[in-house]
C-alpha cells in the first residue's frame, strides 16, 4: 500500500532544544480510513517551564509536595485545584518571590534563581497589584519604566493594550475610580506591557463576572496564538476547558495531568468538575 505521507528521522532544533527528534510517521489509506503509524523515539517541544521535584515547606506545612511539571512553549497550562492546593505558592516560587525548600526549576531554559529571567516574564498576582492613587496611564508608565521600556515603546504598547482590554476611554482615570473588572483588565495589561514570552497568571478571573471571564479567556487565547506561553491558576473548573493542558492539584501535589479531553476520557466523566473529583478525592490522594 502506498503511503500518502511519509516522514523519516525528522529533526527540528529550536533555540538549542530539540523540538522534534527522530520522528518517523507514515500515513496510510486503508479502505478509505486514515491510519497512522508513528515511530517517535523522543519528541520534545521546547519547555518554557520545567519543574522537578519541587517542595515548599512552611514551618512543617508542605504547601508544595514533590511537584514536577512542564509547560511547553506556546501552550496555556492550567493549574487547577481548590483554595490551599499550593497553586499560588508554586507560581510565587516560579516568579522568584519564594525560595523552594528543594527541587529544581528551569524558566525559559534558565535555572532559577536567576535575575536574567525577570525581563521576559509577565506576572499578574492574585491581588490587584496596582497603585490605586495613580491613573491607568501612570500605572502602565511606571511598570513600563521598571522594565526599562522607552517612552515611545510605552506609548505604543499602552495604546495597543488599552485597545485589547477595551479601556481606551479610561486612560486618565484613577484606578480607585474603576470597577473591579476594569481594574483586573488593567492588571493584566500591566503584566503584558513589556511583551513577555511567558506569562504567570494567578487566579486572574477571581471575582470577575461571566461576560468578562469569557473575554479574558479570549485575550489569553489570542496571546497564546501570538506565541506567548501561559501558566494560569484557577479554581473555576469550567473555564479550564480553554487550556491546552491541565494539571489537577490538591494538598501540594499534582495528581493528574493532560488535555481537558484526555482527563474527561481518563475519568469517564462529562465535566472537569467531576473529573477533578474523580482524580482528587476529598479524602486526599491515594
Amino acid at each position: 500500500m502506498e503511503d500518502d505521507v511519509c516522514i523519516r528521522d525528522l529533526e527540528k532544533d529550536i533555540g538549542g532544544s530539540k523540538a522534534v527528534n527522530t520522528l518517523s510517521q507514515r500515513v496510510k489509506l486503508k479502505n478509505g480510513v486514515v491510519e497512522t503509524e508513528v515511530h517517535m523515539k523522543e519528541v520534545h517541544t521546547k519547555d518554557d517551564v520545567c519543574i522537578r521535584d519541587l517542595e515548599k515547606d512552611f514551618d512543617g506545612f508542605k504547601a508544595v509536595n514533590n511537584l514536577s511539571l512542564r509547560v511547553k512553549h506556546g501552550e496555556i497550562y492550567g493549574l487547577l485545584g481548590p483554595n490551599g492546593a499550593g497553586k499560588t505558592t508554586a507560581i510565587r516560587i516560579l516568579c522568584g518571590l519564594l525560595r523552594p525548600s528543594s527541587g529544581e526549576i528551569f524558566v525559559l531554559d534558565v535555572k532559577l534563581p536567576d535575575p536574567g529571567v525577570a525581563p521576559h516574564v509577565g506576572y499578574m498576582p492574585q491581588e490587584l497589584a496596582l497603585y490605586r492613587g495613580l491613573t491607568v496611564h501612570e500605572n502602565l508608565e511606571f511598570f513600563g519604566e521598571v522594565f526599562g521600556l522607552t517612552k515611545q515603546q510605552i506609548a505604543t504598547r499602552e495604546e495597543a493594550l488599552l485597545k485589547l482590554v477595551d479601556l481606551q476611554a479610561f486612560r486618565d482615570s484613577l484606578i480607585d475610580q474603576l470597577s473591579g473588572g476594569m481594574r483586573q483588565r488593567i492588571s493584566l495589561a500591566c503584566a503584558l506591557l513589556h511583551e513577555p514570552q511567558l506569562l504567570f497568571l494567578d487566579e486572574p478571573t477571581v471575582g470577575v463576572d461571566p461576560d468578562l471571564r469569557a473575554s479574558f479567556w479570549r485575550y489569553f487565547e489570542e496571546l497564546r496564538d501570538s506565541g506567548i506561553t501561559i501558566l494560569i491558576t484557577t479554581h473555576y473548573m469550567d473555564e479550564a476547558r480553554h487550556c491546552d493542558r491541565i494539571g489537577f492539584m490538591r494538598e501540594g501535589r499534582l495528581l493528574a495531568e493532560g488535555s481537558p479531553q484526555e482527563l474527561l476520557e481518563l475519568t469517564h466523566t462529562d465535566s472537569l468538575d467531576d473529573a477533578f473529583l474523580a482524580c482528587c478525592p476529598i479524602e486526599g490522594p491515594q
Binding site: F58, R92, C95, G96, L97, L98, R99, P115, A118, P119, V121, Y123, P125, Q126, E127, L128, A129, L130, Y131, R132, G133, L134, T135, E138, F142, F143, E145, V146, F147, G148, L174, C190, A191
Partner: protein, 376 residues
C-alpha cells in the same frame, strides 16, 4: 543600580502624593499649623499675670521706695492689683483670681534708707518684701519672682545704690535677639519631617505589601536597592520642601532669625527624611495591615517630641535618660539645624551631627534592602 529605575520609583511616589490632596495637606499644612499654634500660644514668655500688692509702707508718696519698686514692675508680665489686707490678698490667690501676693512691711522705705546710711541694727524683716506665690505653676511663679527681683535691682540702682557685684549679659556670642520661636522652629521642622516621613513610608510600604504591587515589583527587573533608593530620593526631596515651606512661614509670620545658610539646613532635613524613610520601610516588616502600622505612631512621635531637644535642651534632661536622646536621629538634626540657623555654623562645625545622621541613614537603608531581599 540603574538610575532610570530609581527615578521611576521616585516619580511614582511623588505622583501618588500629587493625586492625594489629603496627604499633601497633611505634609505641608499640618507642620505649619503646629508651628503656628506653638509659636503664638507658647512663645515662652509668661504674660499678664495678676498679682496683688499689699503696701503697708508708711512713707510719703513722693519718697516711697515701695511705690518706686511697684512702678518698675514689668507690666507686660505682671498685672498689678492692690489690697489693704494681706488676708484679703491671699484669699484672692486661694480663689484663683491672682497668682501671688507681694507685701511691703510698714517701715520699708525708712528701714532701707537707714541701712543704706550704715545703721546695722535694722532687723532683716523690715527690709524684706514678702512674695507669697502660688508655686503650683512653676513657670508662672518663676516669672513673677524674676519680675520682682528685676524691679528691685532697677529701683536700687536708680537710687544710686550700686550692688557690689554685677553681671553684664547684654553681649551675646550667638543668638543676640533670639526668642523662643527662633529656638523652636528648627526643632519643630525636624520633628515634623521625622514623623510624617516615617509614617508615610510605613503606610505606603505596608500598602505595597498588601496590594500586591511589591510582589509585582520584586518579580520585575527592579532591584530591592533601587526601590529603597527611589523612595529615599522622593522623601528626601519632600522633606527639604517641607523644611523650606516651614522656614518661609517662620520668617513671614514670626520674623524668625536666620543667620546661617538655609540650604545647608534644608540638606540636613533631607538627610533626616532619608533616615526616616529607611526606618519606615524597616517598620513595615512588622505590620501586616495599614491599621497595624498606625499603632507605631506613639513610638515614633512621642520620644522624638520629648527627648530630641525640640522644647527642652538635652542639657535639661536627666543624665541617665540622655543616652535615649542620642539614639533618636531627630536629636542630631535639631541640633544641626539650630546651629545653622541661630549660630550661623557651617558644614565643618555641624559635621559630627551630619556624620551621625549619615550612619543612621546607611544602617537603615542597608537593613531595609536586606530585609526586602530576604525570601521566605
Amino acid at each position: 543600580m540603574k538610575v532610570s529605575r530609581v527615578f521611576a520609583v521616585t516619580k511614582r511616589v511623588l505622583r501618588d502624593l500629587k493625586n492625594d490632596r489629603r496627604t499633601l495637606v497633611l505634609i505641608f499644612v499640618a507642620p505649619i499649623l503646629v508651628m503656628t499654634i506653638f509659636g503664638v500660644a507658647f512663645a515662652g514668655n509668661v504674660k499678664d499675670v495678676r498679682v496683688v500688692v499689699v503696701n503697708n509702707d508708711t512713707a510719703a508718696a513722693n519718697s516711697s521706695l515701695s511705690d518706686k519698686i511697684v512702678s518698675n514692675f514689668d507690666t507686660s508680665v505682671l498685672n498689678v492689683a492692690y489690697s489693704n489686707s494681706a488676708s484679703d490678698a491671699i484669699g484672692q490667690v486661694q480663689n484663683g483670681s491672682a497668682y501671688a501676693v507681694i507685701v511691703f512691711p510698714s517701715t520699708f522705705t525708712q528701714s532701707v534708707e537707714a541701712r543704706a546710711a550704715g545703721q546695722t541694727s535694722i532687723p532683716q524683716e523690715n527690709v524684706t518684701i514678702s512674695l507669697l506665690a502660688d508655686k503650683s505653676n512653676v513657670n508662672v511663679a518663676d516669672a513673677i519672682i524674676a519680675a520682682v527681683n528685676n524691679a528691685v535691682v532697677q529701683t536700687t540702682q536708680g537710687q544710686g545704690h550700686q550692688p557690689p557685684v554685677s553681671v553684664d549679659s547684654s553681649n551675646a556670642i550667638y543668638g543676640a535677639n533670639a526668642q523662643f520661636i527662633d529656638f523652636f522652629v528648627p526643632g519643630i521642622m525636624s520633628v515634623a519631617v521625622w514623623q510624617l516621613t516615617t509614617l508615610l513610608t510605613l503606610i505606603s510600604f505596608v500598602g505595597e505589601r498588601t496590594s500586591g504591587t511589591l510582589s509585582r515589583l520584586l518579580a520585575s527587573p527592579l532591584k530591592e536597592s533601587e526601590l529603597v533608593a527611589g523612595y529615599a530620593v522622593a522623601f528626601g526631596a519632600i522633606g527639604a520642601t517641607q523644611a523650606a515651606v516651614l522656614l518661609a512661614v517662620g520668617v513671614l509670620l514670626f520674623n524668625i532669625n536666620i543667620v546661617g545658610d538655609v540650604l545647608l539646613a534644608f540638606g540636613v532635613i533631607a538627610l533626616l527624611a532619608i533616615v526616616s524613610e529607611g526606618l519606615g520601610i524597616l517598620l513595615s516588616n512588622l505590620a501586616r495591615r495599614e491599621t497595624q502600622a498606625t499603632q507605631f505612631l506613639p513610638f515614633i512621635i512621642l520620644p522624638a517630641f520629648l527627648l530630641s531637644g525640640v522644647f527642652w535642651p538635652i542639657e535639661a534632661i536627666p543624665t541617665w535618660l540622655r543616652p535615649v536622646c542620642y539614639i533618636l536621629p531627630p536629636t542630631y538634626a535639631v541640633e544641626a539645624v539650630r546651629s545653622v540657623t541661630l549660630r550661623g555654623w557651617g558644614l565643618d562645625k555641624i559635621s559630627p551631627d551630619v556624620v551621625a545622621l549619615l550612619i543612621f541613614a546607611g544602617v537603615f537603608l542597608v537593613l531595609a534592602t536586606i530585609l526586602l531581599r530576604r525570601r521566605e
